[in-house]
Point group: C2
Chain length 147, copies 2
DNA sequence: TGATTTTAGTTTACATGTAAATTAGATGTC
DNA sequence: GACATCTAATTTACATGTAAACTAAAATCA
């Protein structure tokens, strides 16, 4: 049973595209035994080490509850380590281990995905596409119950 | 910590958009106590009742393993019911209950999401946007390890 | 200062997705 | 017909996301 051609659903198209893009990323990361969710957190730390859980949440868009457990796994893999903060004992800063730093070249993973996604679009088309998508995002965020 | 402006990541943009669109859909469905994942399955059945698990898998893009459990919940909610097939006793057909049929107006939920997503794009822009996204999808599916 | 409210992070319960193993029933081939 | 193989669906183990409850510490304020 195929998706009916009309009326077209932008939501579904975005969803399919997003999952396809995630699939590419997962394929790329699989040899390194890092999940896409983990990569998102690591990529923040590769850019700036020692972020707090809250900062990672803001960066990644994930709730701290989700991060808490994800960080457990990154610690199990010895890619990061939690460190208490002297000034504010509620806060926890996350640091890369040597092993975690060793994967820092993966920070460019998204370029590989970008390359595949944009392979068939001209520069001019990309110039049109990005702003349209960004305006679409503005529309949704204006309507969203969150925020 | 904000997303850096350059280089732009199409993967991330698509992901953010997709999640925002899913959020809209979830908000819309919340009063009916139906999740988006459940809606996808129900929407297939509202169009054609009595699909098998495999057919639902093909339609929804979900693995049968995921559907199996999701259908358990839809059965718990008494929205669908499983029925064995005489000809092939491995196969299971899924039928809407009266209660499930009673929600069939939700089949148009995606139009609400479409409306918000496309609110700020002209007809002409939409005519450009859909084909570009579809070409992007073709690019990914050409590269994907799956299929 | 002492009580109240916020904030940071964690934990728990639940829904969902994947991969891999399992079960039972078709199918195909000799 | 009997054995090997394929297929449909389920089950299990695990990662991840959400919401809500919980803990501990900081900040506010009367």
């Amino acid at each position: 049973m195929k998706t009916p051609p009309y009326p077209r659903s932008m939501g579904r198209l975005l969803n399919t595209l997003s999952e396809a893009a995630c699939g590419l990323a997962e394929d790329f990361l699989r040899p390194y035994e890092v999940s896409l969710a983990q990569w998102v957190v690591l990529s923040a730390l590769w850019r700036r080490d020692g972020l707090s859980v809250s900062e990672l949440s803001e960066y990644s868009g994930k709730k701290t509850a989700a991060l808490s457990r994800l960080l457990d796994r990154l610690e199990d893999k010895e890619l990061v380590r939690r460190a208490g903060v002297e000034d504010d004992k509620r806060s926890v800063k996350i640091h890369l281990t040597k092993k975690g730093q060793g994967l820092s070249h993966l920070v460019d993973m998204y370029k590989h995905v970008n390359g595949v996604l944009l392979a068939d679009l001209s520069e001019a088309e990309q110039e049109q596409l990005f702003p349209m998508l960004e305006r679409m995002l503005d529309s949704v965020e204006g309507k969203s119950k969150k925020r």
